[in-house]
Symmetry: C2
Subunit: 461 residues, 2 copies
């Protein structure tokens, strides 16, 4: 009874005092959503081991909120039927719109092909600034799903709205402007209300728009974007400019790659082993170093792009902003069986997170979330098989990268979802890390559309 | 200033009142550590999709604390060198003792081969009761690491202390009693101070002890255990008995298995495909149902074993207890490429968690943690390849299970870490779920030895 009485009195006194002394000014509310494409726990562990050592910690490991996110996909022909592995288009659409769709779709609904309002559109309509930063082409599935609406992710430019690719028809003609549509993804970006778009994909903007004699890039300039092509131009630009940065023809090159450009290779069993799996010997791929990719050159880092985006989005802004940052090549380099490429890309993401967290320190109403869109094939496997003592050649039927580790030893990474030139995605639930502001909104298991809900609630949309 | 003054006064008033009114009685403090062997996020997602549907939730998804645990292993010959993939012996040793060791070791240090004090021993010495429940043989690596000390996990009984297995010498002679050691794992369990040990492994107790004419089981009886062999005996036993339950010769059978005993199978490409990977067609394994394993029969469930363990451990106990519960065959059935087996085993774990959480409701100082020991090979992959539209046969070089899902559709699981009769472990960081009591002690990324630290701190050891 005594405790209760004291509590009531104290609470009342404190409430009165706070009300009397603090009338909080209207504050900017921001959401920064960082997406590591394909960044499941396996890819994080592989990168952490290499970059920080097996006992080391990434910046994302210091975030106070940790959850798991179930990825949802549905069948195009029968939208009530679940599909257990996503692609980047449908998973980004879930985060951008809160709606589950089918593989390959950009912010459109399965089967019905209806345009789905994105968080970028919602935020813009409510006065928030918006931005997209990526290491892929800005027209690629993940960034596209936040701003464009089209039935097939491959329809990135006016010239690819209706074409045959390896014998398969890619048909987005319904979305062509001549048919009353919004046009290709690059055209939709050029005419969007985004304040900042930074990444690759220049080739999709250099061609002429669907009907007219100007290029898509010229369309973008006409609609108010300052178009940038180089790291220097980005470094020099004034924070007040609305930016469209196109820093490579297609995706930005990765920072790291395997020594001499090597990727995963097949183990080579001896002749005797072709007679029976328990006979003979096997030669595993020689261990390699991860080295600087010479093609990276003057590519702006995700960190630089993010700093510039934050400068613009926070300038004279009393309402707030939504910024999506994608580290795209964790996925692309896992498809290509280039473990070093994925590691270098995750390193860039983690450096960028430090910049974002520093921004959140000085702008305390900034919710920061780091997540992935789907799982990827790369698996950390024993460098020396668990069964190595049996004197039998035990090795992967897939392809293997063995990396020389800065802390000594070797780490082996297996790619074995297919023998095609690109590995498959996986359907594992993916991590979500957030700063403390996320705690009241984030459950330890969420579904991917709930990331949209969290963003919307936090921004009051 | 006003706020600060009020806060100081209130804090003082509250502290005084609490000190005056509450002299808390000595309360039982318990830790229940549930280990899903091999239960990484991939295995959880696969089981969740099957058991609850793609939007469903397991009991473990309702736990309020979620972290990731980095698994640590070192090289036997050079203990400063990290190894990136663990086995169940060294990973259980890390959780049981707080010390990182090399693969195959049971609560002994790498190279130096020193016995490492386990949480079971520490807890017993401080007056806590202790118990182990598992679906493996009770002498298997995970339970063994909490109670025994031996250099090789295969030394499970007096007859396997020094033998050749597939051409490799298994030598635990240093630990034989004749040499002043503690004896085999089954002998160490029989002479342990554990209050409850329930699982399989009868064959390791039926033989005579190292020197003497009684069996290991008789040793156990002599040292105070009531030995049980059947579900009925377990159901009927009085809560006051110290229990050694041995419900199968070796590991307990799993609840589910693949229709007609089928496990993963290799896709069958057409003849044309052997000429070039882009030619011909492929026949994937026919989708199957998960069905009841006829061998399961009268096997006691983990849930029943756990209920009985909780009854005994909480009876007339004012100090508390430590209970480790292992669902062993998530791992064993992933080694064997039997996805249904792993799913059924994870279902058992999740049912048991409900029982443990209900116990924690009525015994509020019970810290409940659910984790894994290491990752496993099984990967949820697309049932229809991401590249299926290209008209090229794209399929795994490994082995595939396709499961007919209760919610419709099919889920495909890939096993492709080797072509041996058992898949490899993986090195992915693993999940840790805990109830609210764990929050002050658990960071979002931990290392595996820190699970020992958390337990010790919570129990005040």
């Amino acid at each position: 009874l005594h405790i209760r009485l004291i509590l009531v009195v104290c609470t009342f006194a404190l409430t009165m005092t706070v009300q009397a002394e603090e009338v909080p000014p209207k504050k900017m509310k921001n959401v920064v959503l960082i997406i590591g494409d394909g960044m499941d726990d396996h890819q994080i562990t592989i990168a952490r081991n290499y970059l920080k050592g097996v006992k080391g910690r990434l910046n994302l490991d210091e975030m106070s909120v940790r959850a798991s996110v179930q990825v949802l996909t549905i069948d195009e022909d029968n939208p009530t039927k679940p599909i257990y592995v996503a692609d980047s288009a449908n998973s980004a659409t879930a985060m951008a719109t809160g709606i589950v769709t089918s593989r390959g779709r950009i912010a459109t609904s399965a089967r019905a092909d209806e345009d789905l309002q994105t968080i970028v559109e919602l935020a813009h309509d409510a006065g928030f600034k918006t931005g997209l930063v990526t290491t892929s082409s800005v027209t690629d599935a993940t960034p596209a799903s936040f701003v464009a609406h089209i039935n097939i992710r491959a329809c990135e430019s006016p010239q690819t709205m209706n074409f045959e690719r390896r014998g398969v028809l890619v048909d987005c003609s319904r979305d062509q402007k001549a048919n009353g549509g919004l046009g290709s993804i690059s055209e939709q970006i050029a005419e969007s209300d985004l304040d900042v778009v930074l990444g690759g994909g220049r080739k999709h903007f250099e061609m002429e728009q669907e009907a007219g004699e100007v290029t898509v890039e010229e369309m973008a300039s006409a609609s108010g974007f300052t178009v940038l092509h180089s790291k220097k131009a980005l470094s020099d630009v004034h924070a007040s400019e609305r930016l469209l940065g196109l820093f490579a023809d297609s995706h930005l090159p990765t920072k790291l790659y395997g020594e001499a450009g090597r990727v995963a290779e097949k183990p080579e069993p001896s002749l005797l082993n072709s007679i029976h799996w328990s006979l003979g010997e096997v030669e595993l791929p020689v261990a390699m170093n991860c080295v600087d990719n010479p093609q990276y050159g003057e590519t702006p880092s995700i960190n630089l792009m993010t700093s510039k985006a934050l400068d613009h989005l926070s300038l004279n802004n009393e309402i707030g902003f939504f910024l999506m940052i994608e580290s795209a090549s964790i996925d692309k380099q896992s498809h290509a069986r280039n473990a070093c490429g994925s590691i270098g890309e995750l390193e860039q993401l983690d450096e960028t997170l430090a910049t974002v967290m520093a921004f959140a320190e000085t702008h305390p109403d900034t919710l920061v979330m780091v997540t992935a869109d789907h799982g990827q094939a790369a698996q950390l496997v024993p460098n020396q098989s668990l069964f190595s003592k049996l004197g039998i050649p035990v090795f992967t039927p897939g392809q293997l990268v063995r990396i020389k580790m800065p802390e000594g030893g070797e780490m082996a990474i297996n790619y074995a979802t297919n023998s095609f030139f690109a590995e498959e995605h996986t359907g594992v639930a993916i991590p979500l890390h957030a700063n403390e502001l996320g705690r009241p909104l984030i459950r330890t298991l969420m579904t991917q559309p709930e990331i949209f809900d969290v963003t919307r609630k936090f921004l009051g949309l």
